[in-house]
Symmetry: C2
């Protein structure tokens, strides 16, 4: 068992640790500290602290989520507002604030933190129940009556995760006491062998595993396992969307494909992997691996996005990956990061870090505006100029909040704890999984190491690792699958190292004074999709490092819908930089289609002339005037 | 004014006339009779009578739509079942039955007809209100309180249309009396200059115009016009889907694009065109024409289907036309037939008959199984082998009914009255708009004509028209835009006739004893789409006459997802026939894609070998074992 000590003020570190050490983990979170420096992730974390989280706190106030709680104790007479899971918005912001207060005090965040915890404590019922949607006088009889759509376990899971953050970041167990009362209530209600039921929206599973990691109380793990073991019986009922939507059509261990609501499906698999990580139940890991492979080889976007359908926010059929109607919910991207990290933890295989990275710098980063206060809910790969939609989740531009506000606070807690995903330890090895400017201190089996990572990755492929302290432990560096080449020096000497399973191992490299320099070839690559991806047949995409590029109307003088890219022509950097890499210029043509919607083959051949195509990192689009955008561009030959 | 005489038994004819003569029509329904013969439409009408309508009556019974009415008069204690517009299912079946009883008595249909009319009469309130969803004791206070989603005007519209059918087909005005009481109630509630409101789901507009045509009571027309004039103010409220969904974002006369819920948008335009047809308000016709052009040039499928999105059953952006997630609701196809016929009536332009024909033989015909008792709600252009969906409207195969049962009875009333769309009159001209075996008698300005049309169209392109009676009136024949060639003889002599605006005019041809033979070239054509239709880039489709073909797994030995078609290779008929044309064989290759979901361009070149592609009329797919299907097939060059 791997119970974490309750952190007190004395052991407090500035490191967010979004996942605790696992009994069956092949790697473990580092025992030490990671502080982000002036790199992309460091800047994003600062923006999150200074702009996004304060904005979120404001919207919890203006949109009623806090009043929903206050009214239960007579401190607000506002009507109940929002969706049934409005409490989870509070919990997610609270988790983000806890991580950020761990990085340093800030009065505004502290004020929210103190008020929210006090409020939750006062609202909680004597039996531990806490969910404002069902503590309303008119709905109190409905508690636990609708696990399919009621989201009570989902909300509880987010409160538990906030409480875990509060302990890990601040050594503050006040929220933990509240969350444990709720968790104990859940255990007594759903935990027994004779009990039944499991959540319509998975999330509580991995929250309970985390609570087990923190407290060592096995009933939390057992209840998480019970939820997973029971799932797939059709018990949830078909609801409006059917059992598939809820991943309730087949038992977890018999499931081979990702299907149904994407966020639910990925949260579930994160929980499945987490239960494996504590129980060692190989059948769970096998099921997770099979579904992971299905996701990455048949049902995911080049951006790391998942979810091909708006109707039920769901995975589509294999290879059903439309660009324009990509749902690719921000939350699904974040969920995939969680799952990828757990698969890496379970296997020690750094290649899971590739999907994590793809999601982080593309679909997840796209979810947030440069100013940090506007959000995409869905992240399509194409936006036409005259996009029509009356629905928020299909908006042509980032909105400052959503009626279904799951994504914005999910981004907040993600960026507030992102340093927890950079490195991991395995015995006397240190793994560097993600590259960004950071100061890392870690206690490995063989002793303490201190290193500084300097890089402007992913804008640059150059990474400099200076070892300030260390007695010669091994350093393992992820080599992304996209890297067609790399150049490595150790203390100025070129080092030849094999890439095995997506990683380079540098034996003994973590010695004080050592400098490791790794440079990935960041030449832009033209990508093509499996021919079964009908939606992008005849089209190509441009990727530079882990960053997927797009054509945006603002960068191009001609209608981007009329441009075609010559995949054989060179791609050059322009003088315009973005935080994720330079604006690129590719060769191609502009075409003027004319004629009927459907015509006899080969149809009218449109007039065309050569034209440059200016491309920018996908995640940076939409920060100017709203216009057309596309990742997949017709190839000149098509 | 063009008030129709109330048909008495003496004037009863076997002809369904789904639309009456219009004051500003350039053409008019024929004054006479059309009886379908042993052609495709005749067979479909018989199947409808013998299988589909009886099945529908059964489902009205088993699924509660009739009990919903009976319970209001104490004749059922079943709970209220179905969607709020369940009454409209009864009305649509009743309309179909009325048309069919006009063709001939049948005890089962007569029993339903009598019971349903008696039931409606007893259920109706004293003030004329009749809608079982809001006559329930617990909802009676909600009458007319929610025009956005309540569907009361929609249901009333369908009852009015059934009543019109009952009079036109049978000379029976019992249902008309009921419907007029409801219509009068609507006029008094919504008709005044000071009144406000209009329906969230258009349909009542053209029903009221038809009621005006039948009765001459101008207040029905004026109320229809008021509904149209008021629309576009945002009054309906945004609901869950926003004003665009309801076509309430812009006034009708200022609208240039088809947007929002497809059936609503097309029903609305049918009503707009119908109000023009009686008022001569050119601004309405102009708006309808602009939107028609937008639909056919930017937002419709090669099958005549419309609606690109499942989420809100809506039109998509321009050129957003996915095959796999095509919604292409059967009802939208039927609605497009209604609108096309009204546009033809308003302009006399036979080219509107082309879209009517495309919809009829493709998206609408696809909605019904060969056995006549299974239905598609959405009609996608591609179905993958392992299609995943928990929702009825995205089913991989035709279902025997739907919880939202709008489409099945819409098919019933369409096939029951289809002969009303074959021919029209203009002074002393007879227009043949659709080709199928039929006996036609018409009183033209210059006298009576009687003709027999013999054809197996669209399986065959040969049409023989024998004139049994006539004094030399003109015959105008539609020449579809797909017809790359035709051969015409009059009394055995080759006749050269110019095709002007999609039609051939044969002056004086309607003389007794004359025989006109017209043959269209039915060579299969390979089609390509405008390059802006991203979803089918690099793919081609096959059409023969008006019939779009598809690859279906059952006809092909190799995985249809691995086939590519050589658009330059000849396409030959096989020995297998379907009612819409022979199974075809095209040349191409089978490819075995291997490699990553996304790879560096040009990617792995899959091994390929030549292979035949067997294609069948799209509307005939899915009558065997469920499997993959696709209309757009990758071209070998792509």
């Amino acid at each position: 068992m791997t119970t974490e000590p309750l952190a007190g003020a004395a052991t407090r570190t500035p490191t967010a640790r979004p996942m605790g050490p696992a009994a069956h983990g092949r790697v473990a979170p580092i025992d030490g500290a990671v502080a982000l420096g002036d790199g992309t992730l460091g800047r994003w974390q600062r923006r999150n602290r200074e702009a996004t989280i304060p904005h979120g706190i404001l919207r919890l106030e203006t949109d009623g989520a806090l009043d929903n709680l206050r009214r239960l104790i007579g401190e607000s007479d506002a009507p109940w507002r929002g969706l049934v899971f409005a409490d989870s918005d509070v919990h997610k912001v609270l988790e983000a604030v806890a991580w950020e207060l761990g990085h340093g005090e800030q009065p505004e965040l502290r004020a929210f933190y103190e008020e929210a915890i006090a409020l939750l404590g006062r609202v909680q019922d004597d039996d531990g129940y806490l969910d404002s949607a069902f503590q309303r006088a008119d709905r109190v009889q409905e508690r636990w009556t609708d696990l399919t759509t009621g989201h009570e376990l989902y909300c509880a899971g987010h409160m538990i995760q906030a409480a875990v953050a509060s302990v890990r970041a601040l050594g503050d167990d006040r929220l933990l006491q509240i969350a444990q009362r709720t968790a104990d209530h859940i255990v007594s209600t759903f935990g027994g062998a004779d009990a039944e039921g499991y959540p319509g929206h998975p999330e509580v599973e991995y929250a309970l595993v985390e609570l087990y990691r923190l407290t060592g109380r096995r009933e939390y793990l057992e209840t998480a396992q019970a939820f997973i073991d029971r799932r797939g019986s059709g018990w949830l009922g078909r609801g409006g969307f059917g059992s598939i939507y809820y991943q309730d059509d087949t038992p977890v261990r018999e499931t081979e494909i990702m299907r149904g609501h994407a966020v639910r499906a990925i949260y579930l698999n994160s929980g499945v992997t987490d239960v494996y990580l504590e129980t060692g139940d190989d059948s769970l890991l096998a099921a997770a691996q099979t579904q992971w492979d299905d996701m990455v080889t048949r049902r995911s976007y080049v951006t790391g996005g998942t979810g091909s359908r708006h109707k039920d926010e769901s995975f589509g059929d294999a290879y059903e990956l439309p660009s324009d109607r990509a749902y690719a919910e921000t939350c699904a991207g974040i969920a995939a990061m969680h799952w990828a990290w757990r698969m890496y933890t379970a296997t020690g295989d750094l290649r899971y870090g590739d999907f994590f990275e793809t999601a982080l710098y593309n679909v997840v980063a796209d979810g947030l505006s440069e100013d940090g206060t506007h959000f995409f809910y869905s992240n399509p790969l194409q936006m036409r100029a005259d996009h029509i939609s009356g629905q928020q989740e299909a908006a042509a531009q980032r909105l400052d909040w959503y009626f279904c506000a799951c994504c914005p606070p999910n981004l907040m807690r993600t960026f507030a704890s992102i340093e927890g995903y950079l490195a991991a330890a395995r015995g006397d090895e240190l793994h560097l999984v993600q590259y960004t400017a950071a100061h890392i201190e870690a206690q490995l089996e063989g002793g303490r190491v201190v290193l500084d990572v300097e890089t402007d990755y992913p804008a640059s492929g150059r990474i400099r690792i200076a070892v300030a302290e260390g007695a010669g432990a091994d350093l393992v560096l992820r080599v992304p699958a996209w890297a067609t080449g790399h150049h490595l020096t150790v203390d100025g000497r070129v080092a030849a190292a094999d890439v095995v399973d997506g990683a380079i191992r540098l034996a003994g490299a973590l010695a004080a004074g050592s400098v490791i320099e790794l440079e990935f070839d960041m030449t832009a690559t033209v990508l093509t999709a499996d021919p079964r991806v009908d939606a992008v047949r005849g089209a190509v995409a441009v990727r530079r490092g882990p960053v997927v590029y797009c054509l945006e109307q603002n960068d191009n003088e001609v209608d981007v819908e009329s441009l075609a890219l010559d995949p054989g022509a060179p791609i050059a950097a322009t003088g315009t930089a973005t935080e994720l890499g330079p604006v690129l210029e590719a060769g191609g043509v502009v075409r003027s289609p004319e004629g009927a919607l459907y015509a006899s083959w080969p149809g009218a051949q449109p007039a065309q002339r050569t034209a440059p195509l200016r491309l920018r990192p996908y995640a940076t689009w939409g920060n100017g005037e709203t216009g057309a955008m596309r990742i997949w561009v017709p190839a000149v030959s098509a």
